[in-house]
Point group: C2
């Protein structure tokens, strides 16, 4: 790692010789810096588990990292200051959703996603591949791209690798994902092979699109009508992660990994997992495939979030996770605690003055009782979703902090064993 | 006003000779102080408009006051720190709702409503009369009370004046409302007369119930399982407001006012307004009835909230208002601004980087653009309801602050004229 990269000062290729400070002109003119890439540094290992830091221009992401999901440019029920307060270092937003509404061009016009949603830390955007697979009532794949029907208004849309790059660049993403086909489960060997080959072709086109985008300078008008809003949009190109597919076939995972690594991405993701296959099979694929990925790049297990799965995947050397589990479960009244999982609606909490989790330092546990949380949940109060989400995200982010600490102290195996027992416990 | 009453030190009748500090024993034992009453002080007048302060044991309420509505022990979409930050000095909770769920006895067991919901300022509770009238699918009134069917589970319930007092006492309300019949509109003279007479009888029973409740001491166990939660429940009896009915018949309003005033309450409310009658008729009734109420007690116009109505009512000498308008409108995307009312969903805000209201200092306007607020609203994001509610409550509470300032500066007529023009303006 080069000195100074923590501050995102190195790795600018344009303009040469100028520091980021001076590249931002007095009137809001700044230069597109074409080849800024994130850097990744491993600071400790414990078995295959890795402790590291991803340095982005928007800040550092400590790994293993949990990425809260903000599908529609908002992590459901949270505001951006709360996310920051919880220690979230990166959030995920969905290409598919933002393309359909409000549209990436609108967000670009508004100064990018960071400014739009008032989140100034790193943002990872997915490729939309998974949402096309899971949300669209119609999906037709051909070599060129995917035709799908919007789940919002039924309109027909066509996504290509190039458009997906265009969208993620317009959003101002810090970490963009290559467009892939999320291979379903079950799928025949033949289907899986064709699918991974398509993913490779698309990954190549994504990479080429990003390379081809010429250096340019962009003038961003400081919009007079919005004097109070910070204008922090910068226009460096996103870094780009490739996605390894191959279903549950080890040799196909290997083939996909080799083809994708060959293209040289800034990081690598495992896709097409947690799509219905048995857990043991997922673990096998993760255990087998993760070591095939480059040591010196971040490794991302997409859409995974059950903490038992996280422990397994970190054991295998995975660095990044995203999942709606803490936020969605919160809204459904399922809360994570140091003693196990709690269903807050249960009768026994009716007159329980204790905090949700006596060992928790979050705002919810410090200020409200189980009885009140149950009452809010039964009444479908918005505050219920807020307090539950805040707690669950705190639990997740804290779990990851403790896990990083364990790796640093060469105590990951103990941590894994101890936490696995608790996580299997459905307390109430 | 007696010196020291700001701190709630005077007006304790029990235990004589002991200060509130020493009445709270080391082991959480404290005495029920039977006859603490709120005090009301007028600090300025401008025409009939009054500037004042209601002193309660939980804090001062500056009047004219707006009372945010927290139906189910939560102001929808807000947490209690936000309410405090917005400058809310009192909130309203609903007897009807809390009686049905979770039940007043549970809340009492949990240490009262303040502790339950973690709001330590004054709480006003309504009598449930209006909700029985508006929410229940079945309602049968007789001399003794009201039989109604729960809108939650269809169960049949029977509310009497005594039970309504019991509930509000159990909740630990600071300002309780007498049980009344909210006379519908239209109603014949005969119905209205019978109804107001029933309201008077019930008011008498409420008053007697509160009087009869004997001095007693209560031991509140400091619950070991909730060490982190503040134990601020005090058990003084609520102060009690009477409600004047009489529909749109001036002579009946006069009769009701006289009968209710005769019973000597801590404050007086006008009920049975804004139930479908024309605005002009409501204004007439308010103009006519308000001056009949005692000068030295707070006057409360129940359920009123449209700010044009507020201006008229303050002109007539009303001091307190509650309404779901700012919170409900917020959730429906209608936002108040210094330039008029704004429907945030409109197409023209799609790429509008400006704040909702350039003259507003609230968190929403300081941090988010119209384009983002529109986007959140269209996506039904919980954050939309939060940011909109925060803004609308800020607008309301700020409107009341400016109105109080205007009264203090003998400029209420100007304020009224100027604001009326803006409030009639549907900007977009």
């Amino acid at each position: 790692m080069q000195p100074g990269s923590i501050l995102g000062i190195t790795n600018f290729s344009e303009p040469r010789g100028s520091s980021p400070k001076t590249s931002l002109g007095k009137r809001g003119i700044f230069f597109r810096t074409k080849e800024f890439t994130i850097t990744y540094e491993i600071t400790a290992t414990d078995g295959n588990a890795r402790l590291g830091q991803i340095h982005t221009q928007k800040g550092i992401i400590n790994t293993p990292a949990f990425i809260p999901v903000g599908t529609n440019a908002a992590v459901k029920a949270m505001n951006q200051d709360e996310l920051k307060g919880l220690g979230a270092e990166v959030i995920l937003s969905n290409t598919y959703h933002l393309y359909l509404r409000p549209g990436h061009e609108i967000i670009k016009e508004l100064g990018g996603l960071h400014k739009f949603m008032n989140w100034h830390g790193p943002i990872l955007t997915d490729s939309g591949g998974f949402q096309v697979f899971s949300l669209s009532p119609l999906r037709e794949i051909n070599e060129d791209g995917v035709t799908f029907r919007s789940h919002l208004d039924g309109s027909t849309n066509f996504l290509t690798p190039e458009l997906v790059m265009e969208i993620q660049d317009a959003l101002g993403s810090d970490i963009a994902m290559a467009f892939d086909e999320c291979t379903p489960y079950p799928a025949t060997r033949e289907y899986t092979l064709n699918s991974l080959q398509l993913t490779t072709k698309w990954a190549k086109r994504c990479k080429e699109f990003m390379k081809a985008r010429k250096c340019e300078s962009a003038e961003v008008n400081q919009q007079a009508e919005a004097p109070a809003l910070p204008n922090l949009r910068t226009s460096e190109l996103p870094s780009l992660f490739g996605i390894v597919q191959g279903g549950v076939y080890k040799d196909l995972r290997k083939q996909s990994a080799e083809e994708i690594i060959e293209l040289d991405f800034d990081g690598y993701a495992l896709g097409g997992l947690s799509v219905g296959e048995p857990k043991e099979l997922m673990y096998e694929v993760v255990d087998y495939t993760t070591p095939l990925l480059p040591q010196d790049k971040p490794r991302y297990l997409m859409g995974i979030g059950d903490l038992l799965d996280v422990l397994e995947a970190v054991s295998a050397g995975i660095d990044m996770f995203d999942c709606v589990m803490p936020t969605r479960n919160a809204r459904n009244g399922t809360l994570f605690a140091s003693i196990g999982r709690i269903s807050i609606k249960r009768e026994e909490f009716k007159a329980d003055t204790g905090p949700l989790d006596p060992n928790c330092e979050c705002y919810t546990c410090k200020n409200y009782s189980r009885a009140y949380l149950r009452h809010l949940f039964l009444n479908k109060e918005i505050l219920s979703m807020r307090l539950n989400t805040l707690h669950n995200l705190h639990f997740y982010l804290n779990f990851f902090r403790k896990m990083r600490e364990a790796i640093e102290n060469s105590a990951f195996d103990n941590f894994k064993e101890e936490q696995s027992l608790i996580l299997q416990n459905n307390f109430v």
